[in-house]
Amino acid sequence: MTLVGAHVEVRSLRKSFGGTVALDDVSLDIRPGEIHALLGHNGAGKSTVIRCLGGGISPDAGEIAINGTAYRRLAPREAMSAGIAVIYQNLGLISALTTAENIFLGTELRKFAILSDRRAQNQAAERELAQFQPDFTATTPVDRLSIAEQQLVAIAKALHRRATLLVLDEPTAALSDAEATALGSRLRELRDQGLSILYVTHLLKEVFDLTDRVTVMRDGQVILSARTSKTSSEGIVEAIAGRRPQVPRPAPKPPGEPILGVNRLAGDRFGPISFELRAGEVVAIFGPLGSGRTELLEAIFGRRPAVAGSITLGRFHGRFSRPDQAIRHGLALVPAERIKQGLLQPLSNLDNALLPSFRKISRSGLRGFRSEARIYADVAASLGIRPPDPAVPVRSLSGGNQQKVMLARWLNRAQHASVLLLDEPTQGIDVGVRNELYSLLRGVVAAHGKAVLITSSDPEEVVSVADRALILTRGKTVAEIPRAQLSEQALLAAINV
C-alpha cells in the first residue's frame, strides 16, 4: 500500500490566551514522507501547535498551508478532510464499540440505506489493520485492547480517513519499552510508504531512532529546526532548556527530621517505590506523563488503593484508604487536574480556600464568619492571591491564582498540612506566577519545617524548586539525583537512559 504524504507548512502562527502568549511567530515545515519530531518543555507551545493543526483552536495570526493551499484557521472537519489526523493522548476512541466500529465512526458503511453493513465494515477494517499484524480482530471491543493496540486502532482510523499527515502527541508515554519499539517500527514503515508524521515527544532516544527532522520550541517560539542527523543530543537539550537565569534559591539548609516515609509502596502501574521526605525539603519526582507519578501521589494520599507497601507519617504506619484519613495526619494533595479535581469553580475564593476548614473554624455548630474572613485574608495576603477579594468566584481567577487558592486550602491557619503533595503544580501557569509559586514553596518548607513532594515533567521546574529529584519512568524510580548534581542536563540524561 502506498500512502500520500502531505507537505504541511505552518507559517508565522501566533496565539495568545488571555494575556499569555502561547505561540509567538511559530513556523514549521513538515515535508512529505518524513517523521518530524516536535520537542519542548511543558508550556513551550507544542500542544497549541497541534491543536491549531487539528482544528481545536484557531490561531490569532499566521496560516497553515497544506500542499500549497493556505488556511487562516481550520475547523476540525476541515482539518480532517485536508488530511490532518491528530491523535491526542486520550486517543479519541469510544471504548464500548468494536475496533471496526471505531474505525468507521461517522463514515459507517450502509446497506439498504439505513442499516449499517457490519460485515463489509469488519472486512474493510481487517484490511486496514492487516499491515500492523495485530493480535486482535475487527470485532474486538476497544476496551479489551491494551493502550498500544488502541493506538494502532487510532492510526488505522486516521489512515482509513485518508490522512496525509499523522500528528502523534507523546504516543509512547503510556507504553512499555517493547511496545514503544514496536510502535516505532510501524511508524517507520508508514513513513517509508510516504506518510508525513509529526511526532511530539520528550524522549531524545526516540528523536534519534525515529525521526528525520526535529523542531524544538521554547516559550512559544521555535528555537531549533534541523535535520536530525545534523544535531546532537547536547544541542537539543540546550535548545529545550535554554540558558535562562535560574530563580534565586535560598542557601541549602541541612534537611531536618524525616516526616514521610514511603516503604516499597506499589499499586496499579507503579512501584514498588521507597523514599523518604525530610522536614524543610522539596523533593521532585521527575517523569513523563504515564510514568505513574499521579498514581503514586494518589496512592500515598489514599485516593487510590495501593496493593503493597506502607507509609510512615508521624505516628501513622500503614496505608491510607481514604483522603480524609490522610488529611487528618497532615497530608495534603493538590491534584494535577485543577479544574476537575480541585476547584469549586462557581464558588468564591473563600469557599475554595477554606473548604476543608469550615468545621474547624466553626463554633458550637455555626460558621465563624469573622474568623473565616480573618484566616482567609491572612492566607490570601501571604500567598499573594489576586484578586484577594474573598467573594470573587474562583472561576474568574487566572490559572496561577487558582493554584494559589489550592495552596491556601492547605496552608492557612486552620489547616496546616505538614506534607504537601503537588501533582504537576504549574501546568498551564505562566512563567511569572510559576517563579512566584516556586519561591512560595521554598519559603513554606524553609520557615515551617514542612516537606513538599512535587511531580514534574519539566526539568527546568525541578531544578528551580527541588532539593533533590527522583527519576520515575514506567512506574519505577530509576535514579535519584542529589542537589549537588541537579541540572537540566542531568535530568534529561536520566530519563533517556
Partner: protein, 359 residues
C-alpha cells in the same frame, strides 16, 4: 490586613447577623422570581378583591405549608447533586402508618407521628445506601422506591383510614395564636434549612459536594455520609408531611395520599432557582418558589380559572423560569468583566452560587 478592596461589611468586626442580612439582600436584588411574584400579587389584588384578605392569605400559607416542609430537604438533596423522587409515595406511607397506629392502637399522637416518620426514614435509608454508598443513579433508585413504596402502602392496607381523634387532627387543622399548625412547621423548616445551609459548615459542604464531588472528596469531606443523612432526613420529613396531610383530611387514603406530590415538590424547588445538577440555589429561593406556585394557583382559583388551566400555568411558569435562568447565565458569560466587578463589591461571606447566578 492588606486587602483594600475587602468591602466594609465583610470586615472581621461584623457579626453573623450582618452576614445573614447581607446575604438576604444579595438574594433579593434582581431576583427574577421576586419580581414575578410581586407582579403576580399586584395583578391578582387588582383582579380579585378577595385576594388581600387575612383568610385568603392564610389559605395560601396553609396550602403551601406541607409542600414547603418537603421542599426544603428536597432542595438540600438536589443541591448536593442527588434527587429524591420517592417523596410522594413516602408521604402516603407516612400518613397511612401514622393513621394505622392512631386507629389500631392506643399509643397516642406522638407515637403515631414517630412511627410514620420512622417508616419514611427507613425508605430514606434504602435510598441513601443505594445512591451514595453503592453509587447507583438517584433518579433510577428513587423512581423505583416511588413505585415500590406506593405498592407497599397499599399492601399494608388498601382501604382509607379515618377517625383519628382530635389530638391527632390538631396537627393538621389546629391553630396556635391564629396561625395554622402546618404553617408553623413550614416556618420551622425554612428556618432550620436556611440556618443549616447558610450558617453551618455542613451547608458549605452540601454546595461543595454538589459542585464537585471529587474536589470535596480530596478535601476530606464526607461525600457519602452527608448525602446519605439528607436522604434519611427527606424520607422522614416527607412522611411527616403525610402525617400532617392525614390529620388535615382526617383520613389517610393509601391509594391517593401524596400521588404526584413529588412533581409539585420538584417544580417548587426548581422554580425557586435550585439547579437540577446541584451546587446552585438557596433556601430563600425555595421559599419564593413555593410562594409563587401557591399565589398562582390561589389567584387563578379566585378568578374562577379551572384546575386544568392552573396546571398549564404552573408548568409554563417552571419552563419560563428555567429559560430566564439560561438567558441570564449567557448574559453573564458575555459580560464577564462587568459582572466580576459587580460581584467583587459583594460581601465576604459569598452567597451561594445560585444567588449570583440569577443576578
Amino acid at each position: 490586613m492588606p486587602t483594600p478592596n475587602l468591602p466594609s461589611d465583610a470586615s472581621p468586626r461584623d457579626g453573623r447577623a450582618r452576614a445573614v442580612l447581607s446575604r438576604l439582600r444579595a438574594h433579593m436584588v434582581g431576583n427574577v422570581l421576586i419580581v414575578g411574584l410581586a407582579l403576580l400579587m399586584i395583578y391578582f389584588s387588582l383582579a380579585s378583591s378577595a385576594f388581600w384578605t387575612i383568610s385568603n392569605l392564610r389559605e395560601i400559607a396553609l396550602e403551601g405549608a406541607i409542600l414547603s416542609i418537603v421542599a426544603v430537604p428536597e432542595a438540600l438533596i438536589i443541591l448536593s447533586g442527588f434527587v429524591d423522587l420517592s417523596v410522594g409515595s413516602v408521604l402516603g406511607l407516612g400518613g397511612v402508618v401514622a393513621g394505622l397506629v392512631m386507629t389500631q392502637t392506643h399509643a397516642g399522637t406522638l407515637v403515631a407521628l414517630l412511627a410514620g416518620m420512622g417508616a419514611g426514614a427507613a425508605v430514606g435509608v434504602i435510598n441513601g445506601v443505594l445512591c451514595t454508598y453503592v453509587g447507583m443513579s438517584a433518579i433510577l433508585v428513587t423512581l423505583g422506591t416511588l413505585t415500590a413504596v406506593r405498592g407497599t402502602t397499599l399492601l399494608v392496607t388498601s382501604l382509607p383510614i379515618f377517625g383519628f381523634g382530635a389530638g391527632f387532627d390538631f396537627l393538621g387543622v389546629g391553630q396556635v395564636a391564629g396561625i395554622p399548625v402546618p404553617v408553623l412547621f413550614a416556618a420551622a423548616a425554612f428556618l432550620i434549612g436556611g440556618v443549616y445551609l447558610g450558617l453551618t459548615p455542613g451547608g458549605r459542604h452540601v454546595y461543595a459536594i454538589g459542585v464537585n464531588r471529587e474536589a470535596a472528596y480530596l478535601s476530606g469531606i464526607s461525600i457519602r455520609r452527608l448525602p446519605f443523612l439528607l436522604f434519611i432526613l427527606t424520607g422522614a420529613t416527607a412522611a411527616f408531611g403525610g402525617v400532617l396531610f392525614a390529620a388535615r383530611l382526617d383520613s389517610a387514603p393509601p391509594g391517593t395520599l401524596g400521588v404526584g406530590f413529588e412533581l409539585t415538590v420538584l417544580t417548587a424547588v426548581l422554580l425557586g432557582g435550585v439547579a437540577f445538577e446541584g451546587g446552585r440555589g438557596s433556601i430563600f429561593g425555595v421559599l419564593l418558589g413555593v410562594l409563587f406556585l401557591g399565589v398562582l394557583q390561589n389567584g387563578l382559583t379566585l378568578m374562577n380559572v379551572t384546575d386544568f388551566w392552573q396546571q398549564v400555568a404552573s408548568g409554563c411558569a417552571l419552563i419560563v423560569a428555567a429559560g430566564l435562568d439560561i438567558v441570564s447565565s449567557r448574559a453573564r458569560v458575555s459580560s464577564g468583566g462587568r459582572r466580576l466587578r459587580r460581584i467583587s463589591l459583594r460581601p465576604a461571606q459569598s452567597p451561594p452560587a445560585g444567588a449570583a447566578a440569577r443576578r
